[in-house]
Amino acid sequence: MLKRKKAMPNIPVSSMADIAFLLLVFFMVTSVLDSDPDVQVALPEVPGGEQLNKKIANIYLSADENKSIYYNTMRMSLPEAINNVRAKLSTNPDLKVLIHADKELTYSEVDTVFEFLKEAGALKVSLVTQTNPGGK
């Protein structure tokens, strides 16, 4: 008696490459690109910082070790930067000001920025700290 060979069921894998590439493209398109202002600032290495929502537009104010002030990436005087903050807040009052200040600066310099921000009505502030790779 002749035994008929049973055909083994197999899963078609021809579309696997398409799925993989689709996933790859999806991750590449949806990932949030880092939009940090390109200012060289030694941020304080402090634990306990909360993760900041990057999907919400923020105002970046930076101060480097030479006490230069940057509004986003543009270097300008503090009053000019505050005027820009005020203008930005007039269109969207919920914006948060992210302060990138060099850890070697004295507190009085940062406090001066706070005073200007108070006058401009920018009361929501985040003091950006050094981020650990990979987040928390």
Partner: protein, 139 residues
């Protein structure tokens, strides 16, 4: 004359391993990717003409940061001095804080104190569970 044409065999690139390569790439990118998540200490600045609020002295922990040194003062805990912010952070975590209805901290710092040190003290206090923290600059 009969000519026998031999069928030319076309070379093929095997695409069977394409999915393996794609998945390998996917895993590689997922594993090596560094997610740039910003971290920061959130603060709310007082309004320009905000009136100071009165609070009970025994609820307040007064933390004075001068340079690297820290002094902690409270009615129930007493006065303690720390040589460094590192010591302050460690000791603050061990410190038995009385059961108060609200834990308030007042950080007093000189203008010459480094911003990094002030932030270090602020984060230590926030991590210890103080609900409200106020920062005052010595003039």
């Amino acid at each position: 004359m009969i000519s026998l044409k031999k069928k030319v065999e076309l070379d093929e690139i095997s695409a069977a391993s394409m999915s393996d390569m794609a998945f390998l790439l996917l895993v590689f990118f997922m594993v090596t990717a560094v997610f740039f998540v910003k971290e920061g200490l959130n603060i709310n600045l007082p309004r320009k003409n905000a009136k100071p609020t009165e609070i009970l002295r025994e609820h307040v922990f007064e933390i004075t940061v001068i340079g690297e040194t820290v002094r902690l003062k409270n009615q129930s805990v007493g006065e303690r001095n720390y040589k460094s912010l590192f010591e302050f952070r460690n000791e603050l975590n061990k410190l038995e804080i009385p059961n108060l209805p609200e834990k308030l901290a007042l950080i007093i710092t000189s203008g010459e104190t480094k911003y990094g040190n002030m932030l270090d003290a602020l984060s230590a206090v926030q991590l210890r569970g103080f609900q409200k923290v106020s920062v005052k600059r010595k003039k």
